[in-house]
Symmetry: C2
Subunit: 417 residues, 2 copies
């Protein structure tokens, strides 16, 4: 039996036990995990050191090495996140709907764990603890498959967390990681229909595409955000500038950052130059269409190509297009957007209503930055990712996204006539 199948078999056994645990037991598990991460930090940091040395030997870019690196402060903050999870309300057991049927059967739809969750992610060891915590909170067993760069860190963190929960009487195999980082192991996970209940890829567009295309297991697609800010002809120019700059530069590497600025042709000559200058001041390179470039407002401007309308830069770059109006803006967004987060800046009621109704995305904004699309900001308490698909969960996914429901029907001998 391959490693992955063996892990899945053990995860299923753990899932059966986990489904019977109480909220208190699982919260005690989270606290034990939080404590162990700090208590056993030497072991984790030593493993992390190995990963960092190996990454440097391979000339891994500094930014990637930084994301890989753990230190006592980062471990402390991961540990705090687990502690915060322990005090969130438990979604498991919630009665979602219910009624007494006409025949007297008492029917309830209750929230239960998914069972076994698979997470396929790239080289960020904090995801290991994060995902393990979210899955334990929701009564799910988890199989973690991280990137090869972080393999030693991930194995060490998993060992520490699994032993922590085992110490409070929870099944140790509720938290497991795949030690093999070859492509085949990930592909094997994608094929385990019936053994893994849901797969969540977390990482770049390539990883997500590969999982979506190859998995037989149901997938929740997360992440890619080609988000737009559309400045309507009635926009308050200062508000538009503030929102565009915030959405682009406050944290350019995340999926809810803006990637394209659309602006109405009736106002662009006056309104666009100060926005472009503000972006340039923040170090942003603008990829603009001919009309925007002809304004000559800034130095750092490049001609936009068709490719720019599709690009999620995740960096200090933004595409810029002059549009003929609301219809053109909505059509552009629905054609090029990734259905993540889209915003209009306007003072017109009808334009706001049409934008909200007609733009097809997980989150649609009027007069606010796209950067708010986030489980914490939306009040979900914790986030396991942002779904850009329409099935099961859409937008920021809180704990409920890791659950399913089952119908419980209590009768007194009813048969169907």
């Amino acid at each position: 039996m391959s490693e992955v199948v063996e892990l899945a078999r053990r995860a299923r056994q753990a899932a059966v036990l986990l489904a019977q645990t109480s909220t208190d037991q699982r919260n005690r598990g989270l606290l034990a995990m939080a404590q162990s991460l700090v208590a056993r930090q030497d072991e984790i940091l030593a493993a992390n050191e190995k990963d960092i040395l190996a990454a440097r030997e391979k000339n891994t870019p500094a930014a990637l090495v930084d994301r890989l690196e753990l230190n006592p402060m980062r471990l402390k903050s991961i540990s705090e996140a687990l502690r915060s999870l322990s005090v969130l309300p438990d979604p498991i057991g919630e009665v979602v709907s219910g009624s007494r049927l006409a025949n007297g059967i008492w029917l309830q739809q209750v929230r239960v764990p998914m069972g076994v969750v698979g997470i396929i992610y790239e080289a960020r060891p904090n995801v290991t603890a994060d995902a393990a915590g979210l899955c334990l909170k929701t009564g799910n067993a988890v199989i973690l498959r991280g990137g090869s760069l972080a393999v030693n860190s991930n194995v060490a963190i998993t060992r520490v967390l699994a032993s922590a929960i085992s110490g409070v009487g929870l099944p140790e195999t509720a938290i497991q990681s795949v030690s093999s980082t070859d492509r085949e192991a990930a592909e094997e996970m994608m094929g385990l229909h019936g053994m893994i209940d849901v797969l969540i890829p977390r990482g770049g567009a390539g990883l997500i595409k590969s999982v979506v295309e190859n998995a037989k297991v149901p997938v929740i697609e997360t992440g890619t955000g080609n988000c737009h800010i559309y400045v309507h002809e009635t926009a308050d120019p200062r508000m538009a500038q503030r929102i565009v700059v915030n959405a682009k530069v406050q944290r350019p590497g995340v999926c809810n950052a803006a990637e394209t600025l659309l602006i109405d042709e009736s106002i662009y000559e006056d309104v666009l130059p100060p926005i472009l200058r503000a972006l340039e001041d923040e170090g942003v390179t603008v990829h603009a269409d001919d009309r925007a470039r002809a304004l000559g407002a800034i130095m750092r401007i490049q001609p936009a190509t068709e490719e720019d309308w599709r690009t999620e830069y995740l960096d200090l770059h933004i595409a810029c297009k002059v549009v003929t109006g609301l219809d053109d803006a909505i059509a552009h967004i629905n054609a090029y957007g990734t259905k993540h987060s889209e915003a209009i800046v306007t003072s017109d009621y009808a334009a706001a209503q049409r934008f909200l109704n007609e733009v097809d995305a997980a989150a649609v904004y009027v007069n606010a930055s796209t950067r708010f699309t986030d489980g914490g900001e939306f009040g979900l308490g914790a986030e396991i990712g942002i779904s850009t698909q329409k099935l099961h969960a859409r937008g920021p996914m809180g704990l409920a996204a890791l659950t399913t429901t089952k119908y419980l029907a209590m009768g007194s001998g009813q048969i169907r006539e």
Copy 2:
């Protein structure tokens, strides 16, 4: 461009328009569909006649030909179903959750259409009108891909329905069917990630497996039901007999019919013989383990093999096993069940609670027939299938299962600090 891609392109355009329609418009469309099915029945029945002749020429089994056949009474009843849909509450526009965030943004999560729904099904032309109605009700464009046996009927029904909705100002391409019935057309649909939002296979286990394994588009898995009735040692024997017989014979060809009877070893010698005789009286063949067969209670009994525990007979056959008790029964069900509908007959409180908690299925019953797992019985109004997966929808799927949500965020210039 292939037929399927062209249909998908047109469906997407229709979906954009449909998303902006009012509840009234869509309900008028349903009524127009209902009227046209009856008004243009000659056209539909002529096409159906062709399918039936072709099926007979191919020596298609009589039961299949019967499922294929339309007549004025059947069309009338399909038409009535569309009429009933028109009076159900509209899920679209429902505000699922909402709040004023701390920063003043007014956030609402609202129910919206999926977009484009693909249905891949076998030779039952009533599914064509049924699925088209459910999709129109929920503001979705639909692409129907029926089996080759019903191709003329399906094309005729689709033509009639599309022209009916076009007559009330709805986009004609909201209802389309694939005229090619070769395997490639279905496989092409499965690959249209981003153009089709969800695929729902309706039909036999083979069809469903093929869609689940090959689709890159998200799938809702429906149907297969290897359902069990477990007779606990404390069961009321007459109630047990009534429930077992009902769950097996009231309609043996459907997914919520019972396929295996489990009974406790401490009572089987007394309780099982009358149940077996009642099943035999109803024409049921029993596939039983050694202990049950040794009772010699009935004539029509065969030795059960491992294969019987896995079989969804969909016919007057039932497997029968003597188990050592509750643990054994739950373990058997969780090992061999398809997570559809499972029942215990018991008078013991703790046994009922454990069964409800520990059996992993869409619907779990105490002292009632599994035959109740159905959208109508559960009060959902309409049903587009019974999901046996955990993602998005589980158990009978009502109109809400054909929808997704989006977050609308109305601000006044908020940016993220």
